[in-house]
Amino acid sequence: MSQASNNKIFSNLWMIAVYIFLYLPILTLVVYSFNDSKLISTWTHASLRWYEALIKDDDLISAVLLSLKIAGISALMSVFFGTFTAFALNRYKRFKGRTLLSSMSSMPLVMPDVIVGLSLLLMIISVQHWLGFPEKGLFTILLGHALLGTAYAAVVVTSRLREMDSKLDEAAMDLGCKPWQVFYLVTLPLLLPALVSAFLLTFTLSFDDVVLSSFLSGPGYSTMPMVIFSRARLGLNPTINAVATVTIVVVTIAVIASSFYTSHQARKRKREEAQAYSDSNK
């Protein structure tokens, strides 16, 4: 047998192994969400029983809605602050404290969530002690998630800003744009794809965060991961499988759709560039 076909067999086996490792647990969860049994480990027969239970499970539904709300708002905040951080670090002339800001803004990326959560909690408690504000709850969770998200969003926006031709800003100014017009007529439209991916990334981060939320949440504000976590400690309930399956389906559809869209755009662009080249040689 030739070396090449050996390699091919090996790479195929490797690929299958990776897929099993990554997706078998998820597949198990999806399959068991259709299990009629109350016990999580024994299969009886297929049913939609736990999906019905999910619809009636007000606690879980409201937790999902709260998580979506927090993820949406904190992602917006992250993109907003992250974009300004990226701008300050990449577009302004060197200013005092630039290096400090640059390293501090990426700190949450490497700092363990537990430590970030704990220190935020301590700070909020002492601020509350002195000012009577803020109450632990929605606002504090948002603060924590936005803090983490800002660091990620800054990284995403920075990489896009770096590859953008800064001459575009000058060209816009040269053609009569005041600086703020340059921002919303040129920079922002070109930055949009990066802003969307920063939003999706920070949305996901917030949506599945359990550590920060546990530290910063107050009574009546339990996010979906917190509810799943606390119920798992009491013994897993198949409703959790159902809610997880719904989440997985939504995420999968979103990911597949977006990758189809990007590859379609890339292919379209390539075609058009080839067209322009052959046009010019006519």
Binding site: D165, K167, L168, E170, A171, A172, M173, D174, L175, G176, C177, K178, Q181, L185, V186, P189, L190, R269, E272, E273, Q275, A276, Y277, D279, S280
Partner: protein, 373 residues
């Protein structure tokens, strides 16, 4: 009856741009531009020529308003624009990278500056159409920049910078991003469009051919200041220093001393030969000078020339064939190597010299320029 010479009726050239003693210092120490003054007349195409880091781009960016001078002033049509931001100057720039807005169509790119001026919609449309036909891009109006070839993108960039009818057009390495074949045609298109509009132009380039073919005047820059300013032929044929002679084109420089200094001729004795220069120079007998001689002004022959001046002898050590002409490297007996360029005016490479041959180089008594040390 004699008619008055034509020049008398012509008005004195109107000065559009005046740069007065402009200096730009970066980080408190690096002098990018060093006390430069210049005037550009209305309708002129003026080239700033120099190697990288000579300050030409910094000077252009100060005209555009992207940089402010550390010292000195810039006037446009008599108005002090030194501290005016770029968006308030009636000056537009064409960027080396073109800087076309990738998210806008060709049409919107050209209309971009007009919209900022708050021009009425119908006038914008009219102006954009005019610009599109000027650049022969009518059928590409709805395309995005990435759907155009390099030459087309360049023309979009040009008419975008012309659309606002600027008083002054700045071109930053206008042909730098194109390949050689495309450069020649594009160069002419560019000059035609600029002349049709009649806009005053300052262009920056490191390419002497580009500067010489496009500009009516050239400033040769080095280390932040001007070495020489003048018409292309003047700068090429009468360089005022070794640096200029060396930077523009190829040159052989013979070191020597003035032996005879007359009003109508001088002779310069060099180790290799004696130069008889057919015009007077500002120097004195015994002064050490360099004699600059362009390779294309040297003729090669296998026969010893008559007379005692303006020839030397050597061995052919290198032959470089360029198609239209061939450059011979001649090693003189003193060890000095000179270059001589022969036109290939027949197909059999007529001068018949080959590697290792003894050859005589000779030249006309008006072929060289005498340069001080």
């Amino acid at each position: 009856m004699a008619t008055a010479p034509k020049e008398i009726n012509q008005p004195a050239p109107e000065v559009l741009l005046r740069v007065e003693n402009v200096t730009k210092i970066y980080d408190g120490t690096v002098k990018a531009v060093d006390d430069v003054s210049l005037t550009v007349n209305k309708g002129e195409i003026f080239a700033l020529l120099g190697g990288s880091g000579c300050g030409k781009s910094t000077l252009l960016r100060m005209m555009a308003g992207f940089e402010t001078p550390t010292k000195g002033k810039i006037f446009l049509a008599g108005q002090d624009i030194t501290n005016l931001p770029p968006y308030q100057r009636p000056i537009n720039m064409m960027f080396q990278s073109y800087a076309l807005f990738p998210h806008l169509s060709v049409w919107e790119n050209i209309a971009f500056g007009l919209k900022r001026d708050g021009m009425p919609k119908d006038q914008i449309a009219e102006r954009v159409e005019k610009m599109l036909s000027l650049a022969q891009l009518g059928k590409f109006a709805q395309r995005k920049p990435h759907q155009l070839s390099g030459g087309q993108q360049q023309r979009v960039a040009l008419v975008r910078s012309l659309a606002k009818r600027p008083q002054l057009l700045l071109l930053d390495e206008p042909l730098g991003a194109l390949d050689k074949k495309l450069r020649e045609t594009t160069q002419l298109e560019l000059v035609n469009i600029i002349e049709e509009v009649g806009v005053t132009c300052v262009l920056v380039t490191h390419d002497q051919e580009e500067a010489m073919t496009m500009a009516s005047r050239i400033a040769v820059m080095s280390e932040g200041y001007f070495l020489q300013v003048g018409a292309p032929d003047a700068v090429y044929e009468m360089p005022n220093s070794r640096k200029v002679a060396d930077f523009i084109g190829n040159v052989n420089i013979f070191e020597g001393v003035i032996e005879e200094d007359e009003a109508d001729h001088v002779t310069v004795r060099c180790p290799e030969c004696v130069h008889y220069v057919g015009h007077g120079v500002s120097g004195h007998t015994g002064m050490a000078v360099g004699v600059a001689l362009r390779p294309e002004k040297i003729m090669l022959s296998d026969k010893k020339p008559k007379g005692e001046y303006n020839w030397c002898e050597g061995e052919v050590i290198e032959i470089v064939y360029f198609g239209a002409h061939t450059t011979y490297h001649l090693k003189l007996d003193s060890g000095k190597v000179i270059k001589a360029q022969e036109l290939n005016n027949t197909r059999d490479l007529s001068c018949g010299l080959t590697w290792g041959d003894r050859a005589y180089a000779h030249w006309n008594d008006l072929a060289m320029v005498v340069l001080a040390q």
